[in-house]
Symmetry: D3
């Protein structure tokens, strides 16, 4: 049997979670799931378990996931050559076909893991219910094949699932005006969806610790950035390559109405719970300029 002290610590954690549960009760939360957290089996289980908990305490979570590494594995196996334009992978018809097969398999696997925990989920892609409608995306004016950018999000199917207690698990494939399939960058898809459903939070699970004021100084991790500060940071030139579009995405999402966007370190088990239910964030939050900074407030 546990010691009394141990008990009190447990209770403390639950009590600490109370205001956060309250704040986001009934709110929609979009989780962009990718990177290491998709590869490592234990991390995968930790993410799905976290999302299940979010659902159970009254949030309305949506998962948007990628699957680049898995696609590469299968195109290689099938001997499909990969070409690049401006450093971007060209998605020809063959590759798109494989991508669609792979992403949907991954998608159903995630939904099934959620079901195993007793939380209902439905794996959909952006073609279902015409959730994600796209235009062809060019890269530096060059055709890179079946790569789309979201032009319209139809929230009908998402709301139907959320209102009936299913967690939508979404893979970022959409359809153009001819109803051909297009691959979409998962970060972009998550942003577009969060904006369209009026999400209260959008969280990116990444393979970094967060945003640094100085990328070379590990102690300069930023907890909270207003949009204004984020834009100054972008302008400063102090942001590394991969980070730049992610921060821009966050800024765009907030400008479009999402309240808080989080860049989380997906390599930490249960980072979602820690971020959502404790008074210390993990990673960097981008918030509106008028938004109350609550880490400070809670300290």
């Amino acid at each position: 049997m546990e010691s009394m002290e141990n008990w009190l610590q447990k209770a403390g954690v639950l009590i600490e979670a109370l205001p956060y549960i309250q704040r986001f009760h009934g709110k929609t939360i979009v989780v962009k799931y990718g990177g290491s957290a998709m590869v490592d089996h234990d991390l995968k289980k930790s993410v799905i378990r976290d999302v299940a908990l979010l659902k159970l305490v009254g949030f309305r979570p949506i998962i948007v996931h990628g699957g680049g590494k898995e696609i590469t594995k299968w195109t290689k196996r099938l001997g499909i050559e990969t070409n690049f334009v401006n450093g971007l992978r060209v998605t020809d018809k063959q590759t798109m076909e494989v991508a669609e097969m792979v992403l949907n398999k991954v998608n159903k696997g995630l939904a099934s893991m959620m079901e195993k925990l007793g939380v209902h989920a439905a794996g959909i892609c952006g073609k279902d219910g015409s959730v994600l409608r796209v235009d062809k995306k060019l890269s530096g004016g060059k055709d890179i094949g079946y790569v789309g950018e979201v032009k319209e999000v139809n929230v009908g199917l998402l709301n139907t699932l959320l209102d009936n207690d299913f967690v939508p698990v979404i893979c970022p494939i959409g359809s153009d005006d001819n109803y051909h399939s297009f691959n979409i960058n998962a970060d972009d898809a998550a942003c577009a969806i969060a904006t369209a459903v009026g999400a209260a939070k959008l969280a990116f699970l990444t393979d970094i610790e967060g945003v640094y004021r100085d990328p070379l100084d590990k102690s300069s991790l930023i907890s909270e950035l207003t949009v204004k500060e984020a834009e100054e940071l972008l302008a400063s030139g102090n942001v590394g390559g991969g980070m730049l579009p992610k921060i821009q995405n966050c800024v765009d999402a907030i400008k479009a109405g999402v309240s808080r966007v989080h860049i989380l370190d997906g390599r930490i088990a249960h980072c979602l719970l820690l971020e959502f239910f404790t008074n210390r964030g993990v990673g960097t939050a981008i918030i509106g300029d008028e938004e109350e900074r609550y880490y400070e407030a809670n300290e």
Copy 2:
């Protein structure tokens, strides 16, 4: 401009459809989609268009589809060997993985075709919402791998979609108690689903004209069979190999509460419309022993 005579013929067709529209308004209809109708592009379009019309005039259609030929195409391409036990394909882990990828791709393609016609659809598999829960199926006592038989249908997700005006498009993959994926015979899945949702009709799109009293005599096609007659036919030994389990399935579905089961010739364009909206069926209908025979009644 059309002639008056032509006009009157058109009106006649619509008026002829009226009692059928009325009879099945708000009723759930399960269509097992497979065979040639899945391979030929024009037939595919004709089936999807027919189902869209069923939806628009007030039915609640569900599509359950197979995809065996497409799976074979990809396993071959991937160099995966196919083994047989008692003449049945063994679905090892590798094959199951490919089957899941292929079937989900096919699935999303069908949903997308429906969306293109302006009717909302959602492509799901039996793992979503735990719709299809299975037990491992043995063949003559032998393990044939990830092949399942349905032990439970959870209708929650199906009803959520139907009630919100989405056509569920279902691929026959389910999960066992460990939430592993299992392939299910599409005919069996369609039967189980039709029974669980209390469908008014279950229609099998096949590559045959229907059931013959004498398989060698093309003029002996049977329009309507009661369960009792069907069981006599089965007992007579006059039924060919492939037909036997199909007829058994039909009989089981009716005993479990489905009102009418149809074996249609999917090679005829718009066979669903002809069956559902005109006073002449295409193929063979199996009906309950007390059910009114309406082909006769309508003549």
Copy 3:
């Protein structure tokens, strides 16, 4: 048994109807029913059957009917003299009493025909639920008795019936501020009702083929007129007497929010179906200036 060719033609008609069913699903449609179509028994059955089909495929039809000829028959039989002012019939108290009796009988007969087809209907007049409230109408400043013009439409009863799957069948009798009965021109009543319920379509069943650019040239029938074109036509002086107020009514209805108004030839059996479900109209449609011309679009 029908030939395959015949079957395909049938399917073609149904498939042709699909986009129209989709376009008007859940929309309210007002049909002004009068003229020959009320006298000829077969045409009557064809109109009621058409409206029943509109209901069954998901529209919300309302019938507004007249009954002038039947009223005349009974006033004659009762020896009630008919007087005219400015060529308009004077509706004195006696005539109004007979009109009310006759119109309500006709009204219930139409509702009953709909019921016979298995579609629920309710026969109401404008006094029920205070649906039609009127002011006394003068003709050239002269009192012509109990003739009213609609000053207010209360849609409560109509929506109650429509929302509960009844087809409202309405005879054009309303009440003034003292709750006396007044006769209303059926075209005017149909216009007022279509406007008040926000109908997507208003169709007049008439005894003409439609609007001609040149009344003497039978080949100059106009398929589609924008409001602007209709007003030019009215200004041109090229419109015959009976047609003038009807076109004016159509123009007014569109200006008040009805999307499309149709002048149909009620002498053609099933003209409603042909108009609503095929890509060739029968008669003339008046549409908003910005409205897409869909006959052309569909050709």
Copy 4:
């Protein structure tokens, strides 16, 4: 200004009404309206005003009315001969046509009077919504024409109206299996409707004071009769001709589930209010054998 004493009396009346309002709140009440109360203009206004009040304080009233005298007036005027079989009027096709016209006019007039008081009403006959379905009724085995007896009540339209705050005003015309119109005895129609909607009360407005223990002794008026007592009275032979079927009707209604049936003297202004809102009934109540006798209880 009124004296204080006067005020207190007024308050007393309202307070006295309280338990009755409470007892029947949300309950359905069927009023068979006929006799003198339909002829005398002031009584007519008093009945409609009473029913309006019943509606306003939370009851769900339904009016079923007759109109025999008005029909006779018009058949005479039209020179239609009246024939009798076994003392019963034969309703040939011509007579039925006139009856339908007249009853519907009366019907709409009553609905309109209710509307004038600001309470919504809808005038329907038994053909609307197939509310009253009949079989042909014979009289002593002889055909007496279009006279029907109720075989089925469809409550759909009635509940739709009641649930949406309309008072249904019903004239007793129904349709047979061929959807021909048939006249129905208004008492019978009221009974059938009260039974079908599960009415808490059924009140007959008659031209008598109530039921007498001894028809020759005016002081023997009975306030309350149990079914058992009523049946004894019927068996005693002490009941006059016209009264016999009425009492039988009451007994049948209670056996079919109506809680209380009242035979009221419709010649007394506001007899409905007096019956429903004060502790002294007017006329005779027939109640179930187990029902609490509340006149006694209240004394």
Copy 5:
């Protein structure tokens, strides 16, 4: 048995009530209950009975009550000294504790009396559901303890109760930002609540006959005052001390959206019924400047 004349008078009272029942059907009515009507047992019963009737005929009444005399009784009994600042009682912690005990007891007693009449009631204070949130109120700049003025009304609990057919009985205790209890003047609480719930009427039960044009002339009682007239009266200096804040309260309530405010003489039994259901008011009504004066209108 009553005489016929007596009966007709009774009916007359009920009929007279009809337009008032209609006018306020479904409307929320706030009754400030205090003064003699709270002390005299018969008056108490008469008030509760009146409110029960208001509920039963379709109004949505809310009671707000005081209890000053009862509080004084108990503080005396407990030997708690009472201090005054500027003539106002100081509510120290001890007094507040007693006030809260006493008022809640009174509150539950009123709710229970309503229950006894078969009308459901719930006794709440402003702390329940945070219905009344207050700021500390000073008197002439001096601290007078736990006396609050309403700064916010949360209508959630009130609407929950009203929508589910409970009469809210409210005692005027609210909570400040630290969730300490504060006493609130019952007139002020009633005004704030009436405004927040959008009441159609607010009635003050007082110990005076109403407002006089000349306080010394008993014949100068004013039946109806517009806001403009009330403000002129206040400015005239002709209003006695206790009356001044009451009239100001009425004026404020109307400016905030309440349609009519009544100052009634609570010493008259059933004054609420007389005011609400007859065409002669008791006391003085304050109405908006554009409001129709209905006493005149009804005469």
Copy 6:
């Protein structure tokens, strides 16, 4: 900033709570609150905070509280003598009056503490909505005054509050047939309410550690008892005086349909959370004979 290890522990606690949150989602939980937990300020805050958390994660908690000590404090202060019959306190009219004042004050204080945490609560007694109806209770045949035993629970008000997201806080005062106030033993009231609302759990906060197999052996605390075992224990004579009726109450509640009843040690902070959200109970659970023992199951 916290260490990683610390973080993982926190996440572990939340994850451990997941199956319990899931199991009781949407279920009603009755907490009998009394004893030390009502006296110690910190324990009070811990209980209210725990109940708030139960509400926020989707349970439907109800609090039933006592207040004996507080009543004694006030009766003493008011110099009211306390008499005993058979060792039970006699509740005369004076004492009842004080009890009602005190309990309602305590009640509103608890509701207010919940409101302070942002969770809506309503303080009611059993007289509101006639929630608790009682018969007079005798003690050994002797009259002990206004002490009642519950004869009927009306759940209307409770469900209204629960369905609208208010936590009902209930003090155990009910009304008899004359609507006089009666005190009820809080344990009995909690049992009756738990049974009436179909609670999934009933938890008693007590001042003991739980039930001992041997009261003299602190190591013999029983975690789980089936009804059968509890009855054997009661029969064994090994149960101390105060414990006997409590265990009997638990047994009764389970027999009446409550799934699990807990005797918790209210002196441990957050004992409710520990009991409900961790895999180690605090105190003793009484469960149905067929109920799965989940402490064992979870170990």
